[in-house]
């Protein structure tokens, strides 16, 4: 039944589902995974009957659904069930947003971003290392490894961004946001994770705005 590229497209889609549902309650996570797995299977079976290769469409459906997946993730996160736990620090950070940005500007973004990169890299490495032991009938080792590699890629984006942000502010800012924003969503339940990601993104946006000149250090943000 497997057309060219179909196993890869299916595995990539399942890996993405595992990734964005990571950390959610077990029942929610498994139901989402089972439902998408069923859809992919039906899609592949239906395409085989028609003699079509389903791989491109499976991947397209996965990619076009990413924004909705992330919104779904946020809706199902612990935030909605424990607002009191997060509301106070979140409001505090929002209120102090300007102070955080100034701190980032004076002390340099690489300080916070570098710490985030190390933290995210540790999470990714742990997922990869423990994949053989944590593989279950619902989660293959390959899928877990793929998730770990994606998390490591986020860490690399944050790390690289923090290194180049002074010389190439826009490229650095784009890399920082590309790495920190999804990492913050994945670590939503840890309170510190999303707040640190938000601070990095905030600082990156400030650098983006201030750094239109390539090859020159960005001016101080404060």
């Amino acid at each position: 039944m497997s057309a060219r590229g179909e196993p890869l497209a299916s595995a990539a889609t399942r890996a993405w589902v595992r990734m964005y549902s990571l950390g959610l309650p077990e029942a929610v996570r498994l139901e989402r995974g089972d439902e998408i797995a069923s859809d992919i299977w039906e899609h592949a079976a239906d395409s085989t009957l028609d003699g079509r290769n389903p791989a491109p469409e499976i991947l397209t459906r996965c990619l076009l659904g990413v924004p909705s997946d992330l919104v779904w993730r946020v809706e199902h996160s612990q935030l909605s069930r424990a607002p009191s736990l997060l509301a106070t620090p979140l409001l505090g950070v929002l209120a102090r947003g300007e102070a955080v940005a100034r701190w980032l500007g004076r002390r340099g973004l690489p300080g916070l971003a570098g710490s985030c990169a190390v933290l995210v890299a540790l999470v990714g490495a742990l997922v990869v290392i423990t994949a053989p032991a944590n593989g279950t009938p619902e989660t293959t080792r390959g899928e877990l490894t793929a998730i770990g590699v994606v998390v490591l890629a986020m860490a690399a984006a944050i790390g690289t961004g923090s290194r180049v942000v002074n010389r190439r502010p826009r490229l650095g800012a784009a890399l920082l946001i590309a790495g920190a924003a999804p990492a913050g969503l994945l670590l939503w339940q840890t309170v510190v994770g999303p707040l640190a990601a938000a601070a990095v993104c905030w600082g990156a946006v400030r650098r983006w705005r201030s750094g239109s000149t390539r090859g020159e250090p960005a001016p101080p943000l404060a």
């Binding site: 989402r32 439902e35 859809d39 469409e57 996965c62 990619l63 659904g65």
Partner: protein, 112 residues
């Protein structure tokens, strides 16, 4: 109510009229494609987020099929949805409202 949710109700009620009381995600995606004359199926995230929302609002009811039946058929188990009486009522109200103004309730929606 979002346009895709109305389109799902429309497609599900059409399936029911054809004798398919329950539907699974891929089945409704196919029905939506036919309904809209679209080239591609609705994105996973768009479709299942809408189904989840409709279920939480009581427009759809869902149940997982018997795992033994899925194993026997050699495929993953399906999550089967049914339009609730509330879903039918909401769709009829929207249809009448749309008819009195500008036409089909699902008009304007395109698969993501």
């Amino acid at each position: 109510m979002l346009p895709i949710e109305l389109a799902i109700l429309q497609a599900a009620i059409a399936l029911r009229a054809d004798g398919e009381r329950d539907f699974h995600g891929y089945r409704i995606a196919s029905a939506l494609r036919e309904l809209e004359g679209a080239r591609q199926l609705t994105a996973h995230g768009t479709l299942y987020k809408a189904l989840d929302r409709m279920r939480r609002f009581g427009l759809l009811r869902s149940r997982w099929e018997d795992p033994a039946a899925a194993v026997k058929a050699g495929r993953p188990r399906r999550r089967l949805y049914t339009v609730t009486p509330e879903g039918s009522r909401v769709f009829e109200a929207q249809r009448l409202s749309a008819e009195s103004s500008e036409g089909s309730p699902a008009r304007g929606w395109q698969p993501a």
